[in-house]
Every structure is written in structure tokens, then in C-alpha cells.
């Protein structure tokens, strides 16, 4: 029974999408909504069953029965470890929540939204489960194309421009990935992760593998929106419809980082120079993203753009967890990925509630207008506290694991970036909650600075229906973090690492013992939470603070903020230039690593 689960997780949403495309026009409009929720839940059940069944050994499925003969691999396989299934399950859960949230929202375009979203879901499942590099690329592409079309759905000027930036930068990412696959095939003659891992082990110093890794990692970093590849993200996330932004921030972007973890541990781990580049360059990119995303989020008044920048910050922490190259860091990354998906998904849904109920998303324009939908304000504040590092829930466990892993690896300097990035994103969300729902933080000259385009989403759903998935996601983000889940995440990560290079060949039944260590800095959650409350209070209480202090602090921070604003100017040519800069950084660090 369990052996058909891996293809089922992909086949269900693909089949569902095809079916809806065929008969969607004939169905009354609630049926596609209900059908999509059911498909997403069925995929979630399949993923959960796989996670349970993979406890002893990974599930292996070869399409068309093309199992490898000896060391010759011709077929395409799905090899599902517990970590893969767990990540896929988080993705499916987020889709189910987003379908409930979008109930009736897309009735104008009938079932097309659901068709695209189910394709998107199928692509992400395939991406998590596959064991073949080219198959990974195909899912990556399906994911991208569905995402491009979903971003531009509203066909308004800003969403079209955001979608164009997104499509151009991510297409370059796809070409890089295909080039990387070419390099891989040139040296190893195979695309299966296991066989590829063996040929890397046979020639660990081959520069062609370094080239291949550069191209593949750059492609995944573009998808994962890491400095200096991050520019497209804010443009795309801010303009996509809210149910789609939920998936973008919660699932698509973090999957880029999960892809890097997969690639490294399944294929490139034997090459020492690639390990060095992961530990230096990618770690630095993660820390820089954590910091830059947080600072940029503080600058935003458009709530969705604010959340988009906070995603850059949190995904930076994910990348740091991966780049530490040890089970604890990776375990922290897995816990953080799940927590981030739940909390950020809930936050984008709250933004969607504001858009449909209050007809706007501008934090200053909506000041004090949230009274009638106060339960959304409570949810926004709770989510802000969780983002800001409150010592409960999955996010907190993940960041503590990453921190203790960084400390053990002699990289305690990550701590300030981690705390400051977390605090800034939490502060930005709390500030928005205080301003919109409590009417705090009056700004002089509010009208002049109002954004140009009026935004609105359909107010056709009852508030409780929109709040239901928000509450479920937030409750899960807190409740899923039982005392043992830290240990559980680390064990998943240890198995993920131990099963690298052809899980089908050596099944490892013994769970690896992972030393359970207390966090070296028990004060961190309190520090970042306090800092985020302080920053939020500072921004909200500006009118009560002494003029001299405000002038001094503005003057000190202005150059930094001006640079950040100038960089994210929305011109696609500049974004592509930064991609080239990122590729140059890779080559410099490979030269440094080998010399």
C-alpha cells in the first residue's frame, strides 16, 4: 500500500487540475472550491502516511518499473525520506488552508484559479519527493510557470509589472539550472541523485562539479530570494492575490532553500570545496538576507510588501541553518520552515482580510479603521509576537536550534543578525497592528504620501470563514512545538543527511543519536521580543518623543534606508545585474576555497 503513495501525492493534484480544466465551466462555482480543499487534504494525508512509513527506511518508487540494475540508473525515481515527506505535508496543509481562505474569491474566473493552484501544488510535491535532477528541474519549472500566471491574475498595472520582474529574473534562474544540469551530465553521465553522489565522490576536486553547483545553487537562491538575488520577491509578493501570496511566502520561497539542502546532501557533499563555499558564502548570504529583510520591512507601509521583506529575513535564517552543514542546523531549518509557513501564511491571510473588509492595505491609510474586525487585529498581534521571537512555538524552536548549531560551529556572530532581523520583522508587524487596529502612531501629512493605486479584494466572504484558516495555522504553529519536537526535527535532519547519496542503496534503520543540548543563549527569545516591542513602540509613539532624538536617529539611519530603497527600485535590468554579481561572488569564493 505504501509503495504507491509517492506518485499519488503528485498524481492527485495533477489529475484534479486536469479534471477541473475539463469540467470546471459546467460546475456551479462552489464545487471547484470544495473539490480543491479535498484534493489538498488528500495530498496532506498521503504525505503524512509517507512520513510515518518512512520512519525505518525511505520509500522508493521507480516510475515505469525502471529500477536501477547494479549501479546503472536509467529510470526516474521518487525516494522519500521523513524530512521530504514532512516538508511536502506542510506545503499541502498550507494549500488546504489557502483554498479555504479563497472560498468564492475567484468566482469570476471560475475554476482557472483552482487549476493553476493544483498544478502549483503538484509541482511542489514533485519537487520535495523526486530523486532525479532533471525531474527536479521540471517541477521547478512547473512551479515557476504556475506562479507567474497567478501573480499577474488581476491584470492591473502594478501586478503586471510585478509579474514581469518575477518572470524575467526567475527565467534566468531556470536557464542557470539547466546549464548546471548540463555540467553535471557532462562529468557524471547520470541525473539520478544517488549515482551523481557516487561520481562526485569519485572526483571530489573536479572543477566542472563546482561549476555545476554554482549554476544550480544560484538558480535555487533566486527562487529562495537570498541577497543579492532577492529583488524580485517584494515586487511579486506585494501584488499577487492574497491566497497566492500565502503560498509564495510560506511554501515556494522556502522550498528553494530546501532544494539546496537536498542538492548538497544527496549529491555534492563529497566535494570539499563545495562544502567550504556553503559554509562561507551561503552562510554569509543567509545572514545578510536576515538583516536586510528585517530593516527593509521596517521601512514599508504597504502591509503585503512589509510581509514580503520579512519573508526574505526569515528565509535567510533557513539558509543559515542549511549552510552550517550539520544535523542540528538542518533540524532547526526544518522546524523553522514549518513554523514560518504557518505564521507567514496566517499573516498574508490577515492582509487579505484587510483588503477585502477595509478596502486597502496601506498601514497609514487604514490607521484606526480596524475596529469592526478586531479579531483579525488580535490574530495580527499574535502573529507579530511569534515573528518577533516570542519563546513559544515552532519558529522559536527552529531559531534556537540554528543558533546553538551556529554557536557550536564557532559562528556565534550570527546571533546579532538573527536577533536584529527577527526583531525588526516582528516590530514591523506589531507596529502595523497597533496603527490599524488601535489607531496609534499618527503621522503628519498622511495624505501626500498615500500610494498611487487603490487596491481592493472582493468583500464576498464572511469574516469567520476568512479567520478560520488563520486561527488554525497560528494554533498549529504554537501547538506543534511540543517538548520533543526539537529532538524530532534534529532526528529527521540526521536521517536526511545519513541517507544521502542513494538512499535506495543503504537503508539505515537505526536512528542516529543526536546529543540534546540546551541553547547556549537562553535569553535570545526575550531579547528579540523585547527589541521588537521597543522598535514598534518607538515608531508608534514618534509624536511623543523629543524632537532632538528623532532628528538624530533619522539622520543616523537615513543613508542606510536610502540605499535599501534605491536598490529595490523595480527596474528589472538592475535586478539582473545583481544576479551577475551573485554569480561572480560564487566564482570568487570557489577560487578562495580551492586556493
Amino acid at each position: 500500500m505504501t509503495e504507491i503513495l509517492p506518485p499519488l501525492a503528485v498524481a492527485l493534484p495533477l489529475g484534479g487540475a486536469a479534471l477541473l480544466l475539463l469540467v470546471g465551466r459546467l460546475l456551479p462555482w462552489r464545487i471547484p472550491d470544495g473539490f480543491s480543499v479535498l484534493v489538498a487534504l488528500a495530498v496532506l494525508a498521503a504525505d503524512a502516511a509517507m512520513a510515518a512509513a518512512a520512519a525505518k527506511a525511505p520509500l522508493v518508487y521507480w516510475f515505469g518499473g525502471w529500477a536501477p540494475r547494479g549501479s546503472l540508473v536509467l529510470g526516474i525515481g521518487f525516494v522519500v525520506g521523513q524530512a521530504d515527506a514532512a516538508v511536502a505535508a506542510v506545503v499541502a496543509l498550507l494549500f488546504a488552508a489557502s483554498f479555504v481562505f479563497a472560498w468564492g474569491y475567484f468566482e469570476d474566473i471560475r475554476a482557472f484559479f483552482h487549476v493553476l493552484m493544483l498544478l502549483f501544488l503538484a509541482a511542489m510535491q514533485g519537487f520535495c519527493l523526486t530523486h532525479d535532477l532533471f525531474n527536479l528541474f521540471v517541477w521547478f519549472e512547473v512551479m515557476s510557470v504556475a506562479a507567474f500566471a497567478l501573480t499577474a491574475y488581476r491584470l492591473e498595472a502594478s501586478s503586471l509589472e510585478g509579474a514581469l520582474n518575477f518572470t524575467v529574473t526567475n527565467s534566468i534562474g531556470s536557464f542557470l539550472m539547466l546549464g548546471g544540469i548540463g555540467f553535471v551530465y557532462l562529468r557524471s553521465g547520470t541525473l539520478d541523485f544517488g549515482a551523481l553522489g557516487r561520481s562526485v565522490a569519485a572526483a571530489p576536486h573536479d572543477p566542472v562539479f563546482a561549476c555545476a553547483f554554482t549554476a544550480l545553487a544560484a538558480a535555487l537562491l533566486i527562487k529562495g530570494a537570498m541577497v543579492p538575488f532577492q529583488f524580485w520577491l517584494a515586487d511579486a509578493h506585494a501584488v499577487a492575490p492574497s491566497p497566492v501570496s500565502v503560498i509564495f511566502s510560506g511554501a515556494m520561497v522556502p522550498l528553494g532553500i530546501f532544494g539546496i539542502a537536498k542538492l548538497y546532501w544527496e549529491a555534492f557533499a563529497p566535494a570539499p570545496s563545495i562544502g567550504t563555499v556553503m559554509q562561507t558564502l551561503l552562510f554569509a548570504m543567509g545572514a545578510a538576507s536576515a538583516l536586510l529583510g528585517g530593516l527593509a520591512a521596517l521601512r514599508q507601509r504597504h502591509l503585503k510588501r512589509l510581509l514580503a521583506f520579512s519573508t526574505i529575513s526569515h528565509v535567510g535564517i533557513l539558509l543559515c541553518g542549511v549552510a552550517l552543514l550539520n544535523p542540528r542546523g538542518l533540524g532547526g531549518m526544518l522546524a523553522y520552515l514549518a513554523g514560518h509557513a504557518l505564521v507567514k501564511g496566517a499573516l498574508f491571510m490577515i492582509a487579505g482580510i484587510l483588503l477585502s473588509r477595509l478596502g486597502g492595505i496601506d498601514e497609514i491609510g487604514l490607521r484606526g479603521r480596524g475596529g469592526e474586525i478586531w479579531p483579525a487585529g488580535v490574530a495580527l498581534a499574535i502573529a507579530g509576537l511569534l515573528l518577533g521571537g516570542a519563546p513559544v512555538g515552532l519558529l522559536d524552536q527552529g531559531s534556537r536550534l540554528v543558533d546553538s548549531a551556529a554557536d557550536a560551529a564557532g559562528r556565534a556572530w550570527l546571533l546579532p543578525a538573527l536577533v536584529l532581523g527577527t526583531a525588526c520583522t516582528g516590530a514591523a508587524v506589531l507596529r502595523a497592528a497597533g496603527r490599524i487596529f488601535l489607531g496609534w502612531g499618527e503621522m503628519p501629512g498622511e495624505e501626500e504620501r498615500a500610494p498611487s493605486e487603490q487596491e481592493e479584494e472582493k468583500p464576498n466572504r464572511p469574516l469567520w470563514l476568512m479567520l478560520l484558516p488563520v486561527v488554525v495555522l497560528l494554533a498549529l504553529a504554537v501547538a506543534a512545538a511540543a517538548a520533543s519536537s526539537e529532538h524530532f526535527a534534529t532526528r529527521l535532519a540526521a536521517r536526511f543527511i545519513a541517507w544521502d547519496g542513494g538512499a535506495s542503496l543503504k537503508s539505515l534503520a537505526v536512528p542516529l543519536p543526536v546529543p540534546k543540548q540546551p541553547s547556549p543563549h537562553p535569553f535570545i527569545p526575550w531579547l528579540s521580543l523585547g527589541l521588537s516591542l521597543l522598535i514598534a513602540a518607538h515608531d508608534l509613539g514618534r509624536s511623543r518623543l523629543p524632537r532632538a532624538w528623532l532628528a538624530a536617529s533619522d539622520r543616523a539611519l537615513a543613508p542606510l534606508f536610502i540605499i535599501i530603497d534605491r536598490l529595490h527600485d523595480g527596474v528589472v535590468g538592475a535586478y539582473v545585474t545583481w544576479i551577475v554579481v551573485g554569480l561572480a561572488l560564487f566564482s570568487v569564493s570557489f577560487v578562495a576555497a580551492s586556493g
Binding site: 510585478g162 514581469l164 534566468i172
Partner: protein
């Protein structure tokens, strides 16, 4: 194998990216993007090429006849399909932008901030 295909692939990649960066018209930019994509075709075909070998069609050849690597050709075919999808989507987006903004100059178009 000669250096020529690798040089061509690198040249196409670089010149295409240069075009994308400096372009002042989205249709031109999309054209440049397909140039970048062509570099991956050249790269992949060079990877699978064998001197003196025929096409990988074994209908009227005995098994064992030397042939170029069919795997990369399948990869290129898949990529052409994906590339056509993305190009069509991009052109449709550019058309819609032109309808709403009256320009397709990337420097004049900026998403919401």
C-alpha cells in the same frame, strides 16, 4: 572535443544577459531572454555530441551503431517546450502592460512600492 560549442554557449549567455540588462523595450528584452536560453541548448547539445555518430534513431540501424546521446536531446526538447510557454506568457504580460500604461520601457514601469 573542440572548444567552439563551449565558447558559443558562453558568448550567447553573456550577450543575452547584457541585452536583458540594457534593454529599453520589453519585447526586445524577451528576445534577449530567449538568446540566454539558446546558450543552454548549445551547451546541452555539446555535452551529448559524439564525433562521427548519427542521430539517436535506431529504426533502420542495427543496435550498437554509434549515436549521439539521446538524453540531452530529450532535455533540450523539454526545455524548448517550457521556453515557449514562458515566452508566450511574457509577451502576453507585455501586451497587457502596454494596454494599461502605454509604454513597455522597463525603466518607465515600476511596480508598487
Amino acid at each position: 572535443m573542440s572548444l567552439l560549442p563551449w565558447t558559443v554557449a558562453l558568448w550567447l549567455f553573456a550577450i543575452g544577459l547584457y541585452g536583458v540588462i540594457t534593454s529599453r523595450h520589453y519585447v526586445h528584452l524577451i528576445g534577449c531572454l530567449t538568446v540566454v536560453q539558446s546558450s543552454t541548448y548549445v551547451l546541452l547539445l555539446a555535452v551529448g555530441y559524439r564525433w562521427g555518430a548519427g542521430a539517436p534513431i535506431f529504426f533502420d540501424h542495427p543496435p550498437g551503431t554509434p549515436a549521439v546521446d539521446p538524453v540531452v536531446q530529450a532535455l533540450v526538447l523539454t526545455d524548448i517546450v517550457v521556453g515557449a510557454t514562458v515566452t508566450a506568457l511574457l509577451l502576453a504580460l507585455a501586451l497587457q502592460v502596454h494596454k494599461r500604461r502605454g509604454t513597455v520601457d522597463p525603466d518607465a514601469l515600476r511596480p508598487l512600492r
